[in-house]
């Protein structure tokens, strides 16, 4: 006879089989659980504790902690928060309030003056203008901006900063608020999104996510307005702008979308037509194709970028701005894992609406820049990247901010012409480094070569001595070794030259994600040529020595050859093989060009692509290798690259995926990931990809 333990064990086994079945039979599961008698009453793990501790009155403001020094209440940098020091202003102590008007600047990296700070900053500029205006008997701007400040941190800071007894709070933020939205999206949201998508398409999905984002923003603004009212501190809000013209979507952000009724093929046809029309200078056809792309897939930024280009050709700048603003907002669809900061239109609208409602002064940079540069679409002149301002951008924004600050504090109107220039300015060296940092940052997020060239040229023109830093950069970037161990990296840091790039530490790549910055290094070499130095051969040499293909198979799936930038598809599953989601994916190899190469590849193509094949091109569409035939299970292929297709140095391998699929076949909303993968389907997979010289 069985004892009770054995019976229990048998039931537990039956239950475990039910739990592992797909889909789960919840009725049967509940029934068995009842029989076994294991209830939820045993649950008791509490996670509230940590959270509760964070609330409550704090005697800290950011990294600064309250202290009494000589009878004065000051705030000093807290050594326990040392790791975060470099994210904040480089100020050891926030003094007690004096007779001076005290203005606090709260905000994100854009409010710090990213790429210039700590040598030059937005706060210094604002203080400079206010001092030059002579409107106050004394005025100080306290810099409470922080890199990567999130909305919850901003909320805390808004509440704690009143301890500094400010006369005015300036909030310059909104770029990082979407992260909270990403954090809060649940599987249930995806189920709703799926329904909305079926009925209203991507427009409906956009409205749904915007509504969620709006709630997040309003929650914060409630605190902000309340704090201002309780302590009777007037506010100024600066709404961040975006580099509309010169920040382009990357390949990840342009991943192809599942479209209803096979429209993806139509979309691709429209894009091809647009490319041809552009090459043939057929403006009408170009415009029509771009419009078609936007109509078919408003979730993909490519159509908006094309259409904006068409409007610019027609000198319709307002329409172009409108398009690029839409393009910018497409990252709401969440394709990329590291979306670059930006202020969505919905955030801008809510900020303006709240400010108007509560009579809060605000400066909308989007509008200010559009008004100031009405005969063009402003871009790289004002921005160093997506949202961080150039010196010119900072000066323009702060002049208008100063005007607003003066008006709110003195209760009189003053015209912008009467606001003087500040006496502060970055040195040429600081400005050059800022441009060089911008070039690096742009490169690491896959921006086009002409932007990299613009910043590199600026850098060498402003400060030719930057050559030494650039050469070190070329050296450590081209090495296989982790940057942190590279001697050239050490030299750059020792020199203190890259302090403006988050203390230089931002040059360290994430684990297994080192980039070799092909276009950036080529651009640096070009810029150096313009001041009379030719390093073409040196660069070629080190690349071949470190990455050149030899008789030993080289793994092309390593970051050096696979990645152009740090962004990647937003997946929580980290596979040991590569998934392709763009119609064409580029890999980079370095060769001497003197040998035929042998490619070994293990690939598969999803079953829903029926009998499509993978096409491989070397350097141009004119140089095609044999196709990789359809196989929905892993297939091995060996392909030869004739040396005639290759050039000495850098070569591109392009893999083109088939896109002909029926969108209804692969809908799955079991969890966020499968839902995401349904919207952004896989077009090909590679498990192994090695190349060696042919013996």
């Amino acid at each position: 006879m069985k004892n009770t333990t054995d019976i229990l064990k048998e039931k537990a086994t039956a239950l475990s089989q039910l739990l592992m079945a797909k889909p789960k039979d919840m009725d049967a599961i509940n029934a068995l659980f009842e029989e076994i008698g294991v209830s939820t009453s045993l649950t008791g793990k509490s996670t509230n504790k940590a959270r509760r501790n964070r609330v409550g009155k704090s005697d800290s403001i950011g990294i600064w902690k309250k202290k009494t020094v000589n009878g004065q209440t000051v705030y000093q940098r807290d050594i326990e928060k040392y790791a975060a020091w470099h994210s904040w202003a480089n100020v050891n102590q926030l003094p007690e309030k004096t007779y001076k008007k005290r203005i606090l600047l709260l905000g994100e990296s854009v409010a710090r003056g990213y790429f210039y700070a700590p040598k030059y900053s937005v706060a210094k500029e604002l203080e400079g203008v206010l001092q030059a205006s002579n409107e106050f008997n004394g005025v100080e701007v306290i810099d409470l901006s922080k890199n990567s400040l999130l909305i919850d941190e901003l909320q805390e800071l808004t509440q704690s900063c009143v301890q500094l007894k400010p006369d005015q709070i300036v909030v310059f933020a909104g770029n990082n608020w979407v992260h909270k939205l990403y954090d809060e999206i649940t599987t249930d949201d995806y189920k709703q999104i799926e329904e909305i998508y079926a009925k209203e398409g991507y427009q409906g999905v956009k409205v749904y996510t915007e509504n969620k984002l709006e709630k997040i923003v309003q929650h914060y603004l409630k605190t902000l307005v309340k704090t201002s009212k309780i302590y009777n501190i007037p506010l100024v809000i600066i709404i961040p702008g975006f580099n509309l013209l010169d920040w382009k979507s990357d390949d990840v952000e342009k991943i192809l979308t599942r479209l209803q009724r096979n429209q993806i093929q139509e979309w691709i046809a429209a894009k091809n037509a647009a490319d041809i029309a552009l090459a043939n200078q057929n403006d009408e056809e170009f415009n029509a194709s771009a419009e078609r792309m936007v109509a078919l897939d408003p979730s993909n930024p490519t159509g908006f970028e094309y259409l904006a280009e068409s409007y610019i050709k027609q000198q319709q700048f307002a329409a172009a701005r409108e398009c690029l603003d839409e393009s910018k907002d497409t990252i709401l669809f969440g394709r990329g894992i590291s979306p670059k900061p930006r202020c969505f239109r919905i955030i801008r609208d809510v900020l303006i609406q709240t400010a108007t409602q509560h009579n809060i002064a605000y400066i909308d940079l989007h509008k200010l820049f559009a008004d100031t540069y009405s005969d063009e679409v402003a871009g790289k002149e004002l921005y160093l990247d997506y949202c961080h301002l150039s010196e010119k951008g900072i000066k323009l924004a702060m002049k208008h901010t100063a005007k607003t600050v003066i008006e709110t504090l003195t209760d009189k109107e003053i015209s912008i012409e009467n606001i003087p220039d500040s006496a502060v300015k970055p040195t040429n060296a600081t400005a050059a480094v800022a441009h060089f940092c911008a070039a690096i940052h742009n490169a690491h997020f896959s921006q086009p070569k002409h932007i990299l060239a613009y910043h590199c040229q600026k850098a060498v023109a402003l400060y030719p001595e930057i050559k030494e830093i650039m050469l070190q950069y070329i050296d450590f970037t081209s090495r296989k070794a982790s940057t942190i161990l590279c001697g050239a990296f050490e030299k750059v840091i020792v020199g203190g030259h890259m302090e403006q790039y988050e203390g230089g530490m931002s040059l360290i790549h994430p684990t297994r994600k080192k980039l070799i910055d092909i276009e950036l290094l080529d651009t640096i070499v070009d810029a150096l040529k313009s001041i009379g130095h030719n390093y073409t051969d040196e660069l070629q040499k080190i690349r071949i020595a470190e990455h050149g293909i030899t008789e030993k198979p080289l793994d092309i799936l390593q970051s050096f050859y696979k990645l152009k930038g740090y962004n990647s598809y937003n997946s929580t599953t980290f596979r040991n093989y590569v998934q392709l989601r763009n119609d064409t994916t580029e890999f980079t190899i370095v060769t001497t060009g003197t040998d035929n190469l042998e490619v070994n590849i293990v690939y598969r193509i999803p079953a829903y692509l029926k009998d499509g094949a993978l096409k491989i091109y070397i350097n141009s569409k004119a140089q095609q290798l044999p196709n990789l035939a359809f196989s929905s299970t892993w297939e091995k292929a060996v392909v030869e690259i004739p040396k005639e297709y290759l050039q000495k140095g850098v070569n591109k391998i392009m893999i083109e995926c088939p896109v002909a699929y029926d969108s209804k076949q692969f809908l799955e909303t079991a969890n966020i990931q499968t839902a995401m993968d349904s919207f952004f389907p896989v077009l090909g997979e590679i498990h192994a990809f090695t190349i060696r010289t042919q013996s």
Partner: protein, 585 residues
């Protein structure tokens, strides 16, 4: 077409992967070595990629993946324990994680074979023991239901004929006392073993109160003292009452009482294992014994078993922990597929991990600012240089050839030093290990001279046994308070370079023995790549690093800056698991 079988252990502790090609063990490695996350339990995708590369194959060539336990049975046990509850998360929870991750993360399309946890342990010992007839004993915390199993291996096959079921577990008894003594569960057990020789067995009666031996292979824990079933803490309030002392706080001072409890535990562990091993001998009549499972890493007990039972030969799987389960699972899958046993020989060595060529190391060093000496093609001089430094009291980071599989460093990723130096133990503890000073380091000795210095009559290539030190030399850095040492014997065949170094050191000093400890800092996995080795070297005060043919002396370099960078690197390693309780994932 060759038969390629991948073995995997994952999702609990020490994830690992191995490959058997035509039944031959080609490669094996723990995932933590690649991710730099200590005890990383995640599906071993890096280790798999390494195994495929080492075997020169791709995922398409893999015939099957063998997983080291049965998820259905394990989930059943978790339901039974109340760890899986009927709450709101149940519907969303994925209970097919094992298969899903093998398919989605690893991309494997073929057959998955699930092998019971203890069968994996048993096979990992038997098929690598070289015996064709042996009794099998596996002892650990818990697998699916079983915590201890008894079996027999004959020719190609193994059979497990008896098991002891959860919650009655010798491993969990040991872990519970480990927790009571203020160490981390799943991590501090070997420290308790090291503590025991300092104590007196004053509490054996109390420990015996915790476990009752029963008929045949069975035993029972006295569950009123234990709380681990629910998975929130290890023991009830009655346990401190039983010992008459509150639990020791982590990192607090170690007192005689704690050592006495450790000793008492060790004594009861030994008597329990001896009793059960005797039962196993009676039952099987086999002369050879194979052991595996976490408890088999207690090398002190292993030696006692061999001495106090009728077994003549003992083989302990060097990776007896769950990482080694991958080996056993793969072996059993091979038997299932081919009807043949995978290995006829005893596992010759544990150097189954990645290696790096001199060209690769030279390329790396060339990128850095490090001053180094290049001795490519001059092995003799290399050995002389290092032996001289050792004789001068220098502590060396020793990185050679393929990385070890399993928890012990065996002269491929080791920190080595002169064992005769009375200050060496404290020096190494201070400069790198930052660990409890009571634990001695282990010796590695030239195989042919080992018997002159240690009371041992056979090879000990895996550092799995303790023996008495009988040397005329004074060896304070490696001798335990009770005169014992945990010895590794080194042969030319198994590890040529380490052997040559020991010889060179012997020539200079007439001491064929070196202190050998793992090349890592506390809380981090053992180094895997030359980059890991450099980082570890820079972060510690080791005097010299040998990377293959290259020598880096600290005195020739200034690492202040590099150290600062590494401290500010955001990609720092973290521990992969929770240690307060025995986690039942």
């Amino acid at each position: 077409m060759k038969v390629n079988i991948i073995g995997i252990s994952a999702f609990y502790h020490d994830a690992s992967c191995c490959i058997l090609q035509e039944g031959k063990l080609i490669a094996a490695a723990e995932e933590e070595r690649f991710t730099r996350i200590k005890f990383d339990p995640s599906v071993p995708k890096h280790a798999l990629n390494y195994c495929l590369e080492a075997a020169g194959i791709t995922i398409k060539d893999v015939n099957c993946i063998a997983f080291y336990e049965d998820p259905t049975k394990k989930i059943a046990r978790q339901i039974w324990s109340g760890l899986i509850k009927n709450d709101s998360t149940l519907k969303e929870t994925n209970f097919n994680k094992v298969e899903d991750e093998i398919r989605n993360v690893l991309g494997f399309e073929g057959d998955i074979i699930y092998v019971d946890h203890h069968a994996s342990h048993a096979a990992s010992a038997y098929y690598f023991s070289g015996f064709d007839n042996a009794a099998l004993l596996t002892v650990d915390g818990v697998g699916e239901w079983a915590t201890t199993t008894y079996g027999i291996g004959k020719g190609d096959h193994i059979e497990l004929f008896e098991e002891v079921h959860f919650p009655h577990s010798i491993g969990l008894l040991y872990s519970t006392i480990t927790s009571y003594l203020g160490f981390l569960v799943n991590n501090g057990e070997y420290k308790v073993m090291g503590l025991a020789p300092y104590g007196k067995p004053l509490y054996v009666d109390q420990v015996r109160e915790l476990i009752a031996l029963q008929e045949e292979g069975q035993f029972e824990l006295n569950m009123k003292y234990f709380d681990f079933v629910k998975g929130t803490k290890m023991y009830t309030d009655l346990l401190p009452e039983l010992f008459g002392r509150a639990p020791r706080e982590r990192e607090s001072e170690m007192e005689q009482f704690h050592m006495d409890v450790a000793k008492s535990l060790q004594v009861v562990l030994e008597e329990t294992l001896i009793a059960k091993a005797n039962y196993l001998y009676e039952k099987t009549g086999a002369e050879n014994l194979c052991m595996a499972g976490g408890v088999a890493l207690n090398c002190v007990a292993n030696g006692k078993i061999l001495k106090n039972t009728k077994f003549k030969k003992l083989f302990v799987q060097p990776s007896s922990n769950d990482a080694g389960g991958a080996l056993g699972a793969a072996a059993l899958a091979y038997v299932q597929r081919t009807g043949k046993r995978p290995n006829n020989e005893r596992l010759p060595h544990a150097y189954l991990g990645p290696s790096f060529s001199s060209t690769e190391i030279a390329q790396l060093l060339g990128a850095t600012n490090i001053n180094y000496q290049n001795l490519i093609g001059d092995e003799k001089n290399l050995m002389k240089e290092i032996a001289t430094r050792l004789s001068e009291g220098k502590v060396i980071g020793w990185f050679q050839g393929r990385m070890e599989f399993g928890p012990r460093a065996l002269g491929a990723r080791s920190i080595i030093a002169d064992p005769r130096n009375p200050e060496m133990k404290d020096r190494i503890n201070a400069m790198v290990k930052k660990r409890e000073g009571f634990r001695p380091f282990a010796p590695a000795a030239l195989h042919e001279k080992a018997m002159e210095h240690f009371d041992i009559d056979h090879e000990s290539p895996f550092m799995l046994e303790t023996c008495q030190v009988i040397s005329k030399l004074f060896l304070p850095a490696i001798t335990h308070v009770d005169g014992s040492a945990r010895l590794q014997t080194v042969t030319k065949e198994a590890n040529g370079r380490f052997y040559e170094l020991l010889k060179a050191f012997d020539e200079i000093t007439e001491c064929p023995i070196l202190l050998n400890t793992s090349f890592n800092v506390r809380g981090e996995p053992i180094v895997c790549t030359p980059e890991d080795a450099i980082k570890c070297f820079v972060n510690t005060d080791i005097d010299c690093l040998v990377l293959g043919d290259f020598i880096i002396d600290r005195s020739q370099n200034n690492f202040d800056l590099l150290r600062l960078f590494l401290q500010n690197d955001v990609n720092q390693a973290k521990s992969g698991i929770e240690h307060d309780v025995y986690t039942f994932i």
